[in-house]
Amino acid sequence: MSKLLEPPRMRKIGLLALAAAIVLGCSKELDFDMVDDIKVKSSATLPLAALSLSLEDLVTDIDDSTLVVDPNNALRIYYRQDSVFTYSIEDILSIPDQDPLPLVVDKSQPNFDLNVALGTIAGAQLYNAVFDQGRIAVEINASDTVDSDVRLAFTFRNATLNGVTYADTFLLPAGQTSVLDTSIINGLDFDFTDGGTAVNALNIGLEIIDTANIDQGNIVLCSVALENLGIDVATGYFGDRLQAAPPGDFDFNINGLEEFAGGFYLTDPRLTLVTNSTVGLPIEINTDFIGENAELSRVRLDNAPFQIQASPAPGVVAVSNLTIDPTNSQISEFLANLPNKIYYSGSIQINPAGPPPPSTPNFISKTSDVVLDFEVDIPMEFRLEDMRLDEVVEDIGGGIDNLENLDELTLFFRSENRLPFDLNLRVSFINALGDSINGFELPLLSAAPVDANGRVSSPSVQESPVVFDQDLIDDFLAMQDMRFVASVNTTNNGQTAVKLFTDYDLDIQVAMQAKGNYKINSDQ
């Protein structure tokens, strides 16, 4: 027997084996399947965003801003839309093509004089006119052919060309009975007054020059018409014409307020319609402005017609400014609607008071026009009463993952507000059926207090937590669209008028505290 197997050593080995057996017998069982149940329970408080808004930057950084700065650093709304309406000479005074005038001559009566009135529109009575374009259309018809050429002299006895009474010669060729001819009369200067006794007067003469070449009894009928007349300058009474202007629209965005609707009450609401006229006659303008806001709600400006001054002399621009304010319009309601598009239409009535005194006749030239500009230039002094923003952000529900691992989510909003208005936000979760299934309220901004002049005196700090409990998280995950309804009021719930200055600013901090319960093995 080896020494190792001797009884004492066998006993020692047996004791050790027994100890090992006890140790192993005490071992507890492991269950590695439990790894599937491991959850990470932790939280994190994360700053998400630091948003800032400086009115000074807002004004200076935005191109074509409607907000401008006064010398005293107050904000103003300045907006100008030029040439909303434009009326040219064709809209005020135009001479239609004249009906042909019959002039009859023959061998025995070779001269024919005719006094007629120029045809006009809307009762226009011309004293003088220079045509920068036009033509005389002549049709000659003889009752028989002529053996030799016959010349006929046509004369406007009350018109001159280059200082000489206008006359022109037309030819009836030998062997023919008729001929058509025209003569350009650009620059023809008419005196329609017949020596101060008439208006629109035309004195026309026709004479056979070659009487020897026409047989007795051969009657020549000349038909004369003035066509395509374009006025260079004219005086007189241009009638009481009513001329509509083509309707149109233009955008009207006040920066920062584009998406809001309603509730915007300016302390001094007004706008100016500026007309520049080089037309020497009084005109009444009727305008119709309709403002449409982001919610497509329309409000009519409903301003009264107004008169624009006549230009005192040719080439002189007469400027007429019409201020539209609450006394002559519904401008308060018009601007309170926060229009972002303005539709317009209008018309002009010339000589609304009838003919002018003879000493101050109407005048016009081919370069004359009447232009109406739309201008808003008002201080940003206002109150906001439930100014609203209503936006639906669609299809954002599907892209949100992992929120099911949250036990609770809290969003923190802290604002340090040097703007004089509150902003309350209502957020609604919209499901696929379009129903609001849940949501929360967020008083995001508290209006900064203002002094007696409406200027902010100190910032207002507000901190608002929004707690997403499990129900809210579940509904958030079931959401398809999210609707934001913001309501903005100036200090004292919109009852205090405030002013905006460039040194106003706003800081908003947004943070999130998430308490997670994340199951590591998400396949289970």
Binding site: L24, S27, S54
Partner: protein, 461 residues
């Protein structure tokens, strides 16, 4: 598959990687490798040759923070287990892994001295358990944004030691002094020189992040252009250092002896394939900054990331030479020799890493039952982990010596193991002829005490 993987990981952690506490090896001079714990410990062998690659393989695992049973005990709530665990971890919780292979070992007696020489390959990894992360993830009241990793340390090294040791007996063989010089080549090394990283909320709307990080590495960057490198430059890079082990053993009388050793005294200078990972900065994050006056917010996220990157100044720096002390170890032992065949000892072991001591305490029994079979057993408290019952033996079959030992036989119950190691090897050794004096003393002890009394003492122990 997952279960199998977890099991293999657990098995690997519990047995394949065992800790370098060496509590069983220290007093067990039946095997020549005891000189790794104390170069002055008297050798039993007259000469030995460690067979290349098989003469010694040791592996060590130590996790002072938790055992698998603390997490995966069947029938319990794993999340509660993790919550309890996160409450129990602290700055002293540590994970150590170590592997050492004897590439070659030779020792022989020379007069009153004994010479050892050889080479070892060691892979060592130690890190603080990031208890803050456990607390954040599992305590139930932790916050990711209240993180402070200022106490986190990590170091790993893969090194080859070429050693030459000598011990000599003085004072009529009562006193033995030993010294071992080791020339070390470090193939890979990485450690955290500075890890000041914190992420803290200052109120709800601010996170203050501070980083002062320097992670130094040597060696890994060589693999980026591995094909361009000479294999010898990687195997024996110019990351070298001369390191010493010192030891003393004093035999007070036939009954008592004391011994002590101080190991790995020296440093390595790293010059090859060095790369530092650096971050220095502070950043106050208050969210993505959005100026509502602007129309375009598309680049605010990128701008924030750019700011973050600039603030922390993350960068890699190549070529910075550095020196690093090896982790020092020390043993102190007091032994009572009941007889030449049976002795009992008390052992203190400490490791000093980054100025902090990690201590082990143990008692052990060594039974020199015969030349062909010697046995040791003991109990240790290793870096705060209790109930480490160790055992080991050597079996000599002619010139062939097989040895196997562990600091914790409980590792068989891998579920509850926090510390264990395994040392196994095969030597060719020769004890020489038995001395007359030893035979006489053995005879006297056998007469004084019966074998049954010895067994009784062992049983009580």
């Amino acid at each position: 598959m997952k279960k199998i993987s977890l099991f293999l990981v657990a098995l690997g952690l519990s047995t394949a990687l065992s800790a370098q506490s060496d509590m069983m090896l220290y007093n067990f001079n039946a095997i020549p490798q005891v000189h790794h714990t104390n170069p002055a410990y008297p050798q039993q062998t007259k000469w030995y040759i460690g067979l290349p690659a098989v003469s010694g393989f040791s592996t060590h695992y130590h996790n002072s923070g938790f055992a698998l049973i603390d997490i995966f005990e069947a029938g319990t709530d794993i999340n509660q287990n993790l919550a309890d665990l996160s409450a129990s971890l602290d700055g002293s919780s540590q994970l150590n892994l170590n592997n050492r292979v004897e590439l070659l070992g030779i020792g022989f007696k020379a007069g009153r001295g004994f010479v050892t020489l050889g080479a070892t390959q060691t892979v060592d990894f130690k890190m603080d358990l990031p208890y803050q992360l456990f607390q954040i993830m599992f305590s139930g009241n932790g916050s990711i944004t209240n993180l402070d990793l200022n106490t986190f340390d990590l170091e790993t090294i893969n090194r080859t030691d070429f050693y030459l040791g000598y011990q000599h007996k003085f004072l009529n063989e009562k006193l033995t002094l030993g010294v071992k010089g080791k020339y070390v080549f470090a193939q890979q090394h990485a450690y955290i020189e500075r890890m000041n990283l914190s992420l803290k909320n200052d109120g709800n709307y601010n996170i203050r992040a501070v980083s002062d990080i320097l992670v130094r590495t040597s060696g890994p960057s060589a693999f980026e252009s591995f094909e361009d490198q000479e294999i010898l430059d990687i195997a024996l890079p110019n990351n070298t250092g001369l390191v010493f082990d010192f030891g003393v053993h004093y035999k007070i009388n036939d009954r008592f002896d004391v011994s002590a050793s101080f190991l790995d005294f020296g440093s390595i200078t790293y010059t090859s394939f060095n790369r530092d990972y650096v971050s220095e900065g502070e950043f106050d994050f208050e969210g993505v900054e959005i100026d509502l006056s602007q129309d375009d917010f598309s680049n605010v996220g990128d701008a924030t990331l750019d700011s973050l990157e600039k603030a922390f100044n993350f960068r890699e720096e190549d070529g910075n030479t550095y020196s690093r002390d090896l982790m020092n170890r020390a043993f102190v032992s007091f032994n009572y020799n009941l007889s030449p065949k049976h002795s009992f000892g008390a052992l203190f072991h400490t490791r000093i890493w980054n100025g902090e001591m990690f201590n082990d305490y143990g008692i052990n029994y060594v039974g020199r039952w015969g030349r062909f079979f010697q046995f040791t057993a003991g109990y240790s408290m290793i870096n705060g982990t209790m109930h480490n019952i160790g055992a080991g033996f050597d079996m000599k079959m002619g010139p062939l010596q097989l040895y196997l030992m562990t600091d914790n036989v409980m590792a068989a119950d891998y579920a509850s193991v926090q510390t264990t190691n395994l040392r196994v090897g095969l030597n060719i050794c020769f004890y020489g002829s038995r001395s007359k004096n030893a035979e006489e003393q053995e005879q006297k002890v056998e007469e004084a005490q019966s074998a049954e009394e010895s067994a009784s003492i062992l049983y009580k122990f």
